[in-house]
Amino acid sequence: MERKQTLETACRDFEEDLVLYYYGDGSERERSRVEVHMRTCARCQRFLDDLRRLLPQMAQPESLPQSFWDGYYRETVAKITAQRQRSPWWRNLSTPMRAWALPVFATASVAVLAVGLLIGRGGWNPQAVRPRANIPQEILTDASQLEFFNSMDMIESLPALEALDGGKAEPFAGRNG
């Protein structure tokens, strides 16, 4: 009855170790130190006895019927299943398609970037590639027409060639008469 009036504490240096001792924690050295001390200290013995009486009562789990746990499990699994079905589509992409998704997205990104840069710098002008149908007929040449133009250039250059030759060649009949 006297103990109810005044709180008897354990020795100051041992109280924390006694709590750990009760729970089976602490190193072997700490446990031996507590055991040696308790052989001669009634206060610490009583402190440990109090813990042994009080603490297990508090931890005593209040039993619930199996039906509660069955219902709990079903409810939890149903909630998780619902969450799984609500997951955004892009989250599902990440796992099964990870192997191909990364290179495909990377290639697509590079392509988009390249086209964007090309357009931005004006390097690609769709007007520059005119359809063949829009090119005037006189510009359209084939190989024989090119030869014709080359021979015309040569004829125009004949007087210059004659001058270089020092007038050795016969005068061009067509020119003098």
């Binding site: 109810k4 109090d50 009486r53 508090m58 209040e62 699994v77």
Partner: protein
């Protein structure tokens, strides 16, 4: 792993399967940890429905974040942290815990008397009930971290090293919390000893 029954798989194996997209294996983790999750939530809330909601929310969070689990701690430490954080958020949100006991549920619903602990002797029940109320009141008045350390050690049986991981603190700090909580409880319950 192929020849093993799913219920025989280790937590790490179940988590790995979930991370590979086989979410159905998470159900086995629910089965394994549901009682512990509910009990820790009940220790914090003292309300059966709230404990159910909070612990189920912890499972939902664990499932949605399973890919973030990197295996640096054990699954149960990681999961306990989710449960405890949810409980602490709940305590802060509520400001004051209603502190209902499962005993109260039984008193209110006699047809559910199966919830009561049949091991208690009738003559000791009143005294035990009063001691529990006093203990719960003392627990309620404790700082959050002190109470968390005590509940995880005393009620859940977690080793101090794991409590330190759950609470993201040092083992020495957990020891101090535990000591203070136990000293406070002993003081408040001395007349029932």
């Amino acid at each position: 792993m192929d020849n093993q029954k799913p219920q025989e798989l280790r937590d790490e194996e179940l988590v790995a399967l979930c991370q590979q997209g086989q979410g159905q294996y998470f159900d086995f983790l629910v089965r394994k940890y549901m009682e512990k999750a509910f009990r820790i939530a009940f220790d914090f809330t003292r309300d059966k429905e709230e404990a159910k909601d909070l612990s189920q929310e912890a499972f939902l969070r664990a499932f949605s974040r399973i890919k973030q689990f990197d295996g640096r701690s054990s699954f149960y430490t990681w999961f306990y942290r989710l449960v405890v954080n949810l409980c602490l958020d709940y305590a802060r949100r509520k400001g004051r815990v209603r502190w209902q006991s499962l005993d109260t549920i039984v008193e209110e619903n006699p047809e559910r008397a199966e919830l009561a602990d049949s091991r208690s002797a009738p003559e000791g029940q009143a005294m035990a009930g009063e001691a529990k109320r006093r203990a719960q009141s003392t627990l309620k008045s404790m700082p959050d971290r002190q109470r968390t350390a005590f509940l995880l050690r005393n009620h859940q049986g977690l080793p101090i090293a794991d409590i330190a991981k759950v609470m993201k603190t040092t083992e020495a700090t957990v020891r101090v919390y535990l000591h203070r909580a136990v000293a406070a409880l002993r003081q408040s319950l001395l007349e029932f000893v």
